[in-house]
Assembly symmetry: C2
Homo-oligomer: 609 residues x 2
């Protein structure tokens, strides 16, 4: 096209043929525009129509030529602001063309190519990342690790060293039996290293260090979550039920062997029909004063114990929660030690074990069902710290209310609601480490002509992961606080600590669920391959929101506790006090709901360079 007037159309032609956003509809728009220009001769119109004929597109060479003409103009004249400015220059300032600005601007608007950003596409100078790009460390990770590990640094180091041994290589078999045995073997090694008995009193062969026990739980969770749950079932649930609900005679008889894994056991509370509402458990323990025994019995199929860890394969005994019956009277839920297997592994008479089979995760833990068919155990097998039967066969307890006694018993077991969220926390840390390291390496898209950019450089990707990282730090310190409160508790604080543990268990496990979900998606296809571990982290922790107290139910406990506390606080306030209280809380709630608006600082650019 030599005719300068007609050259005004070159930018439009180039854009409609090259841009992948324009459609046939836009071609029609352009044809209509050309047809309506009275200043063009019929011959000129014909020539222009030939350039926007879908059946006869310009050659590849033609396109390249147009492009270079346009780019040359843009580079030479920084004053060029829109497509029409290029048209004017190409038309050599033809008077007719200059007067057409309003018509061209309307057309460009119809085509969606109005404005500076279209020119920007031609101008774009690539900001090229050199291929030896490396993220720079901005802080001393050693110091941060010291702060995170605190006083438990030594035991954390020991656990990390143990699980780094070759025998702790991940089990990759999909055969559940193989996986269960591997996890059992790992537990034996941990017991040999005196890690299992850490929480038990020293006089019964334990380590006497509850803080270290929780740190062990958390650190093991960096390895394999089936391991930590099997470990928690054996040394936490089974062992601690003896320690919390039993008395001297039980400690002497059992704790040492539990700590060394010589005596494996289960915590048999949940039944098929009763999970959250454990007050309604139906398993019965009927006392017979004649021979001073209890008969443990499952009255119906749905009263079987379910999901019980260590039951399917390895447990020799169980702490069984059952309704105590004496002389036809119901004395509420109490706990009893019931043998399940002989030392040779054979299941004992009256005991029926089922296997929960394949689960979404934690397949290294042998969860099972247990039924009791009139199983007789001696009187001393009652865990009698909170209730006992005296020499005359009468029930005795310092806590007369059955409900209150049961909830006191449950209260002593609150440690599980600290161990589980700390394990969940470790899983979130692992997931974030995997996802953030990957997104610092993975490159996708980038400026025209430049290298692709690490996806962590995208604002979108930072927004997905970095707030979750910050939250995980917050949960870390919150769980440290909870642990310290629990370890140093006095009787008066128990109710508050129980509510705190319930709330933190729910909050932390939900946070881990959301974090690992985002990590999976942020890693794309790689996040779906089992070898990259997000699979196991996600599926193993999936049940954390359910076990040790269903999160939804726990949150209602927290609400109940908070409302009681508020009622007390309000009772002590005058009208002005209440107004101030509501004002302060509203202020906090609003600023918390608006974290981005209020906290938008330069920090978010930190990762850009």
């Amino acid at each position: 096209m030599k005719n300068p007037k007609l050259r005004a159309f070159i930018p439009l032609f180039y854009i409609v043929w090259s841009d992948d956003l324009l459609t046939q509809k836009e071609f029609l728009t352009l044809q209509e525009f050309i047809g309506s220009q009275n200043w063009l001769s019929e011959k000129e119109k014909e020539l222009l129509f030939s350039k926007v004929n879908v059946l006869a597109p310009p050659s590849r060479e033609q396109l390249v030529h147009w492009k270079s003409e346009i780019e040359k103009i843009i580079q030479d004249k920084p004053s060029v602001k829109c497509i029409f400015d290029i048209s004017i220059i190409l038309s050599e300032n033809d008077k007719t063309v200059v007067d057409l600005r309003p018509a061209f601007v309307e057309l460009e608007n119809d085509l969606g190519i109005l404005g500076e950003e279209v020119i920007g596409d031609f101008k774009k100078t690539a900001v090229i990342f050199t291929s030896n790009y490396k993220t720079v460390k901005r802080f001393d990770t050693e110091i941060l690790t010291q702060i995170l590990d605190g006083k438990e640094a030594a035991i954390i180091k020991k656990v990390k060293s143990v699980i780094s041994r070759p025998e702790f290589a991940y089990e990759t078999s999909t055969d559940t039996d193989v996986y269960r045995e591997k996890v059992y073997d790992w537990c034996k090694i941990l017991a040999e290293e005196n890690l299992g008995n850490m929480a038990y009193p020293k006089q019964y062969g334990g380590g006497g260090n509850l803080a270290d026990y929780f740190a062990i739980m958390e650190t093991l969770s960096y390895h394999d979550l089936s391991l930590v749950i099997k470990f928690g079932v054996q040394f936490g649930l089974w062992g601690m039920s003896i320690q919390s609900l039993g008395t001297e005679k039980h400690y002497i008889k059992y704790l040492k062997d539990i700590g060394s894994l010589k005596l494996t056991g289960c915590f048999a509370m949940t039944e098929t029909n009763h999970g959250s509402n454990v007050k309604g458990l139906e398993t019965m323990a009927t006392y017979n004063h004649d021979d001073q025994t209890f008969t443990i019995h499952t009255p119906n199929e749905n009263a079987q114990k379910e999901y019980i860890g260590n039951a399917a394969n390895h447990g020799q005994m169980a702490t069984v929660f059952a309704k105590l019956m004496i002389g036809g009277n119901d004395y509420g839920i109490n706990a009893f030690i019931v043998p399940l297997r002989a030392t040779n592994g054979n299941i004992l008479k009256g005991i029926t074990i089922g296997d929960c089979g394949l689960k979404m995760g934690l397949n290294g833990v042998d969860n099972g069902t247990i039924r009791f068919e009139k199983v007789v155990v001696p009187k001393e097998n009652m865990l009698d710290r909170f209730a006992s039967i005296n020499e005359s066969g009468e029930f005795e307890s310092p806590i007369p209310s059955d409900n209150r006694r049961f909830f006191t018993m449950l209260g002593t077991l609150v440690g599980g609601r600290i161990g589980i969220p700390r394990s969940a926390l470790a899983a979130a840390k692992s997931g974030l480490t995997i996802a953030i390291l990957y997104s610092d390496k993975r490159r996708q898209f980038g400026p025209e002509g430049g290298s692709e950019v690490p996806i962590l450089n995208y604002r979108m990707h930072q927004r997905r992961l970095i707030p979750l990282l910050a939250k995980t730090y917050a949960v870390h310190f919150a769980l440290q606080y909870l642990t310290n409160r629990f370890i140093n508790k006095n009787e008066c604080e128990m109710q508050e600590i129980e509510a705190l543990a319930a709330g933190m268990k729910a909050y932390s496990t939900w946070s881990t669920r959301d974090t690992l979900q985002e990590c999976r998606e942020a890693c794309g296809g790689k996040g779906y391959l089992s070898e990259n571990r997000i699979d196991a982290l996600k599926n193993d922790t999936e049940i954390y929101t359910t076990f040790e107290g269903d999160n939804t139910v726990l949150m209602q406990l927290v609400a109940k506790n908070r409302l009681s506390e508020f009622r007390k606080s309000f009772g002590e306030m005058d009208a002005m006090g209440i107004i101030n209280y509501v004002y302060e809380n509203t202020k906090t709630a609003i600023s918390e709901k608006n974290p981005i608006a209020t906290r938008k600082t330069d920090d978010e650019h930190l990762l850009d360079d």
Copy 2:
């Protein structure tokens, strides 16, 4: 306690000993109160102190006696409104006691037992659900099914009948090889039933019915999601790539055998280094005009094809996307048919296949990696609908821009972004069916003395599941709309339909992710057992948010499209028009953000009875 004055304390004593919410702190409060009452003699105080001594609790019989006294009063006198009203009656209207109302009220407040609800706990009459409780059907499910199935009712019925056959029993083996072969066998049955070739033109042995094809995809998803993905890879991705990107000669040669599963194949687009940014694919197809062949080559390890379905075990051929090079010039990404295996299953020379191994889900699909070491294929293996090489060895295309051509090719493959969200929809439907049916049976907690209540009766549980059910219906009809738009499209609408498909794919798969998460948690421990299927539904659909276009990237495409459209719309508006537009959109946004506040009706009680 015979002294009427002292009997005023009975309700307090009963509550502190029976209520599981009061702590030692409250005992101290009560002791302090007693100590400060000057109207009591020292002896009377001593007696009262003895009742709140933690070391000497009242007997169980004492508690029962107190309780029955209180209950009797409450039943006889409906006017009783608070604990102190009971105290007055027990004290036989003792003048001293009556005057103590302010002091007692303050004490009750401190103890957190002020108010009618405490009395309510005594009054509570159990609303007992008869054990033969059954949810009543309120609507005709037949009619609803007709509306949902629409014109595809016949094919849906056929698919349901096929997948109900005994040979479609779920595969429970954890051995990936066993599962993969089972899914392959299922695909053979579906091909025999003429379900695989449903979308292909009739003249090439197909069913010529795209609407039915999508209905088949959705219905198969009620069975097993590995099956539907394997099915989609073979008949959708592999077959439709031939149909959409090839020409007559390819249809004649391949379509019939693909539809009958005689010719298995892959869709080899994604590379290790390029998933979202497919424009950057590095696999090369170099044209040699001397012998009229292409040499397919993987230039580096990270340019290998990855996650390719059908690659690890069964694919005989693949549609390979590669950068076309002619005489040293790059002509952008084009598609080529490349044989991978001989008919006996042996991998051909120059081809290296890897196995993606265990994945979070979809383990019945044999995803693999493919590398090409200078593999030579004849010229006719280029899928040449949008570009070809002429007799002189020159590149020819009706679409001169390489980018535009590639995105046009991708546009023809948009069907995958309809099949996948429809499959995701079916998974959400399955999950909700499982969770809602279970929660109508599962009972937990209930009124004192009454039966436990189905958990679906709890407002909380309804709020968890019912909005998701409503959303799933909405997504159903939205995807029907999208399918119809796609089937009846004209060229001008393609861009809008592509944006709609991208948006619905992202929205629907995220919705399924959230729905199945809630279903899992709502089913508690049962939701974690693989036998109840939420495991598979959740883990199989987990990757739906990533494949067929990463959701986050798709949403950016949608945003780009919407912004272009808005720019056009705004261009045509005057100032008043823009103000009206913003007003209407704001109104909608606000009412949508507030669905509960604006739609709280009696409907939410429907499930209560």
